[in-house]
Symmetry: C2
Subunit: 378 residues, 2 copies
């Protein structure tokens, strides 16, 4: 299916992307601003479904890399969005034919729209994760053996670089320190792949899923229905917790926004706090005092989403504030994230948490439901 | 003049380069090893004088970037030497015709010989500084308006990058953090220039000057003459201090070897200590207790050279050890380093020292001889 992304779709798309961004991927307000401006100046963007993509297409993914805490203060320029795409085209010696989103998030689903508008290129209705993750190599194409190199990066000042590394983790390491030096956020593009590779390795229909989520939230509000319940239905997830933000510990270190948020239970039943540990994205949701003996409810790679209590508006990790009344939703990630190789790349252990991966429904990777698991030790 | 650099010239060249390296630029033993191995495997290297260089040549400079303390422990591979040259040739879309040394130093005058041997390219008898300086933009071509970009960099693991930045300081900033992440040293190449630009902006006859210095030291030893006196004559400098190393403070931080060395006076006359402040290279030589009211004798950009007392062997900053008996020589740098623009780039103030630049003969930039100058405050 080929369709056109116009200005009217942007707000829904950005809001839905912020839901799937699980706290990261950038602020949807800023993402929507950028995409609307690019469409107003350069025209609507053609979205192409994976089934319509020619096998010999040259697809690259486009994203913003850096700490979301900085992204909200430093808007990228349209030039810095297209500079790395041009650099990669020159490096490869042939023109890029299609752009794709590396991840889903308030900014990282809308930046590629802006890039596609300015460059006059079609954008795939697909992405590399089906959610957001903090590190560059954490995409399904890595699991399919697709190289992140050559990777282009650029800042808003006009500095541009191209990396060709021995594996996708080295791209992350070098691009991350460059991004920190260049002002804590850069635009990147890479993971050049053919149409056939894109069909195999990307998550399909991502943009329409975002629009469906965003418009679902908006329509529930109009219809005086509960938007959070609508999100749970659309994600096939479950509501995990209702509470009030009582503490947020946050530090922007090594190019990431890392921290924890403590939510105090509101209402009847279990009165334990919920602790959310995040690195750009929410990684672990656990019940208890946040120190030891906590009960881990859900972990990466499944989705942990924080929504404003009444409106269902997604709240990014950098948007968490004392006193917010929120509801936490857990939902399944793309099934490919539960393979052993994927869990080694994005499971709790990679981020320093000595707990087994726990799915959105509370089961472990082996499908066993457990309670009273080990403490979060990171 | 066009001549051939064979294995017999390497030891003298590396030793002489370490003298002009003023403590930095890498260890001459390691530099000589690399160059000899490359010549043995790939043949001798043609050295080309600036007067023989065609106007339409494509010259690039080659160097190792990083902390010398790490360079002595991590030898570059021949592949990592040629990877950035190939990347720049591909980026520019035309073949590099000549290599040049970015700076003079035990490794940074011999690495380009190794690169020239492997690539089968001629090497200019010239360099970008006439000495060594710690940061990438600190070359005379920067003062001539030549861009360091595109700059190629590569590590021994096979990771390669190309930077295109808005000015030469941004190349330094981004390449430096990449170098630190890639193991604290990388091979770099950049400053692409025409033959005409090379003739205007480079220091001429550098390699023959190094060989003359190195062989002068060796011949003085054979002839039972004083090698240090010979170095002073060849550099047109003066002997500044004779003493014993009694303290070395050294830290490898942010990709540099920074520190101070204290030398205790030996012999008659002034019994004050000499303090050498360095960042890879010696920057300031001052008499006193190293705290306040010191008398600054010589500063960057002129040359401060530490030689072993009897043999005249140059000692790099990472080679300084307690108890070494040494002599310190001061000598003039290329006159272009004394322009106001140059002093802003490489003078004491740039490195955080609130003192006027002091030439090798004790005069200030205005030619005034002074004593009792302000304290070194950095």
């Amino acid at each position: 299916m080929t369709w056109s992304i116009g200005p009217d779709a942007i707000d829904d798309l950005a809001r839905g992307a912020a839901v799937l961004g699980t706290g990261g991927g950038g602020d949807p307000y800023i993402g929507a601003l950028l995409a609307r401006r690019a469409i107003a100046e350069h025209g609507e963007v053609t979205a192409v479904g994976l089934d319509e993509l020619p096998d010999d297409a040259l697809v690259i993914t486009v994203a913003m890399m850096g700490a979301p805490t900085v992204m909200v203060e430093k808007l990228p320029t349209l030039e810095s969005i297209i500079d790395p795409v041009r650099a990669i085209g020159a490096y490869l010696g042939r023109p890029v034919t299609h752009l794709a989103c590396a991840e889903i998030g308030g900014v990282n689903s809308t930046i590629p729209i802006a890039a596609a508008a300015v460059l006059g290129l079609p954008l795939l209705d697909a992405d590399g994760m089906g959610r957001a993750f903090p590190e560059l190599q954490m995409v399904l194409p890595t699991l399919s053996g697709i190289s992140a190199s050559p990777l282009g990066f650029a800042d808003e000042k006009g500095n541009v670089g191209v990396l060709q590394t021995i594996d996708n983790s080295w791209v992350e390491r070098i691009a991350r320190v460059a991004a920190v030096e260049m002002g804590c956020s850069v635009m990147i593009c890479g993971f050049a792949m053919s149409g056939a590779q894109a069909r195999e390795s990307l998550v399909r229909d991502s943009l329409r899923r975002c629009i469906g989520l965003g418009s679902g939230i908006a329509r529930a509000r109009t219809d005086k229905l509960d938007p959070v319940t609508r999100v749970v239905e659309l994600l096939g997830g479950r509501e995990l917790f209702t509470g009030k933000v009582v503490d947020v510990q946050r530090a922007t270190t090594a190019g990431f926004a890392r921290g924890t948020a403590t939510l105090q239970a509101v209402g009847a039943g279990d009165d334990r706090d919920l602790t959310l540990a995040f690195q750009n994205e929410h990684l672990i949701a656990s019940l208890g005092d946040g120190v030891s003996g906590d009960e881990v409810l859900v972990t990466t790679p499944d989705l942990i989403v924080v929504l404003e209590h009444d409106t269902g508006e997604p709240i990014t990790t950098e948007g968490l504030r004392y006193g917010q009344r929120v509801r936490v939703v857990a939902a399944p990630s793309d099934p490919r994230w539960h393979s052993p190789a994927a869990l080694a790349m994005v499971g709790p252990g990679y981020f320093g948490y000595d707990v087994p991966a726990r799915r959105f429904d509370g089961t472990t990777a082996e499908g066993v439901s457990v309670t009273g698991v080990p403490a979060v030790t990171a």
